[in-house]
């Protein structure tokens, strides 16, 4: 099924991972694709791990992405991105929020938080575009905009134009929270810009 696009979005419960994937799915559907989206999130509301699989194309059978086959990995949290990076196809692209959300088991001293998740991911041969989506969202006035920032970062890596994704986001807010439309447009563009900057930085590093 080479004509199916596989996108894996990961993070922790409460970050809006599932909503982001749903918006992506809506954008794909708007273009006439078949789509399936799955996650196991029974207890994710309690700050657990969330991994959301989105597959779209002419016809989608299994909803699950096999390890080693994701076209794009989008990580809402640094260590979570590292946890799932083996799902990417070899040499695949990672878009990641550098924010670290430390779980109680680390605060209690039972486990360590990885020192450098970005370096770990790069050491496996993946390309990494990393940026602080939470800081960008806070600058725009609301940490919950992080979700739209991440969607903006994905916009230039999809098999359809960025405008389709932006339309899907704004349509959702126009229906539920019209006063949030403009700030989400800004968050989307800020995410796109952050991804571009991270891309250039990666190029500069590779050249150095």
């Amino acid at each position: 099924m080479n004509d199916v696009t596989n996108i894996l979005v990961v993070g922790i419960g409460g970050q809006g991972v599932m909503t982001a994937t749903e918006i992506l799915a809506e954008a794909a559907i708007a273009l006439g694709h078949d789509a399936k989206k799955t996650e196991v999130a029974g207890m994710a509301q309690r700050g657990g791990v969330v991994s959301s699989h989105l597959r779209f194309g002419p016809r989608v059978l299994s909803p699950q992405i096999m390890a080693g086959t994701a076209d794009l990995l989008v990580g809402f949290e640094a260590a979570e991105t590292m946890r799932w990076c083996h799902y990417l196809k070899p040499g695949g692209l990672v878009l990641m929020n550098t924010a670290r959300l430390v779980p109680p088991v680390v605060d209690l001293g039972l486990y360590d938080y990885p020192d450098d998740p970005i370096a770990e991911i790069k050491s496996r041969g993946y390309q990494v575009h990393a940026f602080d989506a939470m800081a960008i969202a806070l600058e725009l006035g609301d940490v919950r905009l992080g979700n739209t920032v991440m969607l903006g970062a994905m916009a230039d890596h999809l098999p359809f134009p960025p405008q389709v994704l932006l339309d899907a986001i704004l349509k959702r807010f126009a229906a539920r929270k019209p006063h949030m439309v403009e700030v989400n447009r800004k968050a989307f563009e800020a995410g796109r810009a952050a991804d571009k900057a991270a891309h250039q930085q990666q190029h500069a590093e590779a050249a150095a």
């Binding site: 749903e22 989206k37 799955t38 700050g47 299994s62 699950q64 670290r100 109680p104 605060d107």
Partner: protein, 623 residues
């Protein structure tokens, strides 16, 4: 019927919608003209009733447990209404008493029972296979493979149920319930109730009456088997690679087609009774037959008993999902082909188990219980099961809904001589208590148990998302209902009035003193905590706290509360005046998520935790 209907909810029009399996079933239930729907919340089934409750012209309720939900649906079906109930796999263990006799009476109005198996254990205490119920209760079973099929099979199940006057089980799994996919939906067709007709020989199941119905059930089995053989829900997808042919159902069928696009498959959509002759004919067209069924080898066993050679659990696991990553290597090995190369191994990252919410009222209870020695605590099913985890490690047992009561009594009565001074506690939530715990408490009272019961009343079914229950004072639509008075209830079960305490779980000294006193009393006590779940509207946020760095001495007392808003920013080794080496934990509070419950403030000796200065810009906690 005193049904409370939602205020003319806007119903999405027909067309193609992105729906989860649960949402697809809800839509189909409504479109089928179903008039009564009932359930007790349980992952992964909860959203079926939640979504049904948003549709007009259908009575929906949260029942007190799954057995009652099935009984409500049965009554409605006896009255000639189309009815529906939904539950998670373990819910049917509770409801099965009704199910096993319902199969003798059958129904008039169509009755569809959706059972959601948690294959892969995303949020359950076991991984049982509900397909046994079809065999055990002689009932037909449909198994969808995605949202579109869930929608279509639900509608087909109502028609089938009425045609054969038999309830139909819709077996789903987490990978159907929680997957969103495109569904083409239609419009509602109303079905008026035909009315209850007095017919004691059918509706009153005495031994004599039941004895006459059992042969009819066996007759029906034959009709169902014939129906399964010809049903369009069981179909073959041809393929040119005939080395292996697959018999599969549920999500596993999609995984098979994804993994082996050229292989022939026989899809079992109407999977009980198994269409044995259809499988036999299919088997003759392929070199090797492989049965791909999640959890138990049920179909495999039935085919083998009918003399059909096949592989199944000899090459596939009996636990967990049968996704492509499991199927591909197993079939490669069967065919003697090289097993696909292993993928890059996963990075080693700390586990991130679910935690209690910031400011959860249960935090105070577990902080307190963790400090009391020489106790054994039986736990129950709900958010508070997380009390078994770090940092509290407070719960000693968890089995099933309401089991904390009976197990506590058993721990008391069966105690070893060496444990004669141990105190026995039971911890149970409000909804679990009403579901199946009340009877256990009655048993403790009646039989003179020495147990201290902590009844954590947070006015909601927290783990599944804060649904209402009879202790909430609200119904499924948010409408006002009578609210259970837990203190009066346990008093009427026989607990002495002076042994019943209602305590604010955010008042740690009172909580500690009450528990310490009650565990010393050699009879049953009930301590009720009375603060709402932080996920429901009753919870009111307060001004957040922050830590004054200069004042924090690193004692770590606040860390023991277990609130996820408290983070350790640095650790230092120190030597106490006694010469004992200790590790200091300096902390920070994530002010953006703190809701000011004050639990961490109480054990802070140096008074380093104060209300946050919100005039400063918000800052992120960095590590």
């Amino acid at each position: 019927m005193a049904a409370v209907m939602p205020q003319s909810a806007p119903v999405p029009k027909g067309g193609r919608l992105l729906l989860s399996g649960n949402e697809a079933v809800a839509r189909a239930v409504w479109e089928s003209g179903c008039r009564v729907a009932a359930a007790y919340p349980g992952t992964p089934s909860t959203e079926m009733l939640e979504v049904i409750s948003t549709y007009p012209d259908i009575y929906a309720e949260w029942s007190v447990n799954e057995k009652v939900s099935l009984e409500v649906a049965i009554g409605a079906a006896f009255a000639g209404s189309r009815s529906f109930c939904a539950m998670k796999h373990v819910g049917m263990n509770v409801a099965s008493d009704a199910l096993m006799t319902l199969t003798l009476t059958g129904v008039v109005g169509g009755l569809v029972i959706a059972i959601a198996d948690d294959v892969g254990l995303s949020s359950s205490q076991n991984e049982q296979d509900s397909r046994y119920w079809g065999r055990f209760a002689h009932l037909p079973m449909f198994e969808p493979s995605d949202s579109q099929e869930a929608y279509e099979m639900t509608k087909a199940a109502f028609d089938f149920s009425e045609k054969f006057q038999v309830p139909v089980i819709l077996r789903m799994t987490t990978r159907i319930n929680h997957v969103k996919a495109l569904v083409t939906v239609g419009e509602r067709v109303a079905h008026a109730a035909t009315g209850f007709k007095k017919e004691p020989a059918r509706w009153v199941m005495t031994p004599a009456g039941a004895g006459k119905r059992i042969p009819l059930m066996f007759e029906r089995d034959k009709a169902l088997r014939a129906e399964a053989e010809t049903s369009a829900l069981n179909f073959v997808e041809t393929g040119k690679d005939r080395r292996v042919g697959f018999v599969a159902s549920g999500p596993a069928w999609m995984h098979v087609r994804e993994s082996f696009p050229d292989a022939p498959t026989l899809k079992l959509g109407f999977s009980c009774p198994v269409p044995v002759e259809k499988v036999r004919a299919f088997a003759a067209t392929v070199d090797t037959l492989v049965v791909v069924e999640e959890v138990e080898p049920l179909v495999e066993g039935e085919l083998k008993a009918a003399g059909i050679e096949c592989h199944g659990k000899d090459i596939l696991p009996r636990q967990g999902e049968l996704a492509p990553n499991v199927l591909k290597p197993a079939i490669a090995r069967l065919l003697g082909e090289p097993v696909p190369e292993g993928i890059t191994p996963a990075a080693q990252v700390f586990p991130r188990p679910p935690t209690m919410c910031v400011a959860c009222p249960h935090l105070g209870v577990y902080y307190t219980l963790a400090q009391i020695k020489n106790i054994t605590i039986s736990g129950d099913i709900g958010c508070y099961t997380l009390g078994a985890g770090h940092p509290w490690n407070a719960l000693d047992t968890t089995i099933s809904m309401g089991a904390s009561m009976g197990i506590a009594l058993g721990l008391d009565k069966g105690r070893a001589e060496a444990d004669k001074d141990k105190r026995i506690l039971a911890v149970i939530g409000d909804s679990t208590f009403l579901h199946m715990g009340m009877q256990g408490l009655l048993d403790i009272v009646y039989n003179g148990g020495n147990v201290t019961v902590m009844l954590l009343d947070n006015r909601a079914v927290g783990m599944t998302g804060g649904q209402a229950n009879p202790g909430s004072g609200k119904g499924i639509h948010g409408q006002e209902t009578p609210r259970v008075d837990f203190a009066k209830l346990v008093e009427s079960l026989g607990v002495k009035k002076e042994r019943i305490h209602v305590v604010d779980p955010y008042q740690l000294p009172v909580l500690f003193k009450t528990i310490r006193e009650e565990i010393k009393v050699p009879e049953v006590s009930v301590i009720i905590t009375d603060q709402p779940c932080v996920l429901i509207d009753d919870y009111k946020k307060q001004k957040p706290f922050e830590v004054i760095d200069a004042k924090c001495t690193g004692c770590g007392n606040c860390v023991d509360v277990g609130c996820p808003a408290i983070h350790v920013t640095r650790r230092e080794k120190a030597v106490k005046p006694s010469g004992k080496e200790v590790e200091l934990q300096f902390v920070n509070i994530e002010t953006t998520v703190c809701t000011g419950c004050g639990l961490c403030v109480q054990p802070c000796a140096p008074e380093a935790i104060v209300h946050a200065d919100l005039t400063r810009p918000m800052r992120l906690v960095r590590h």
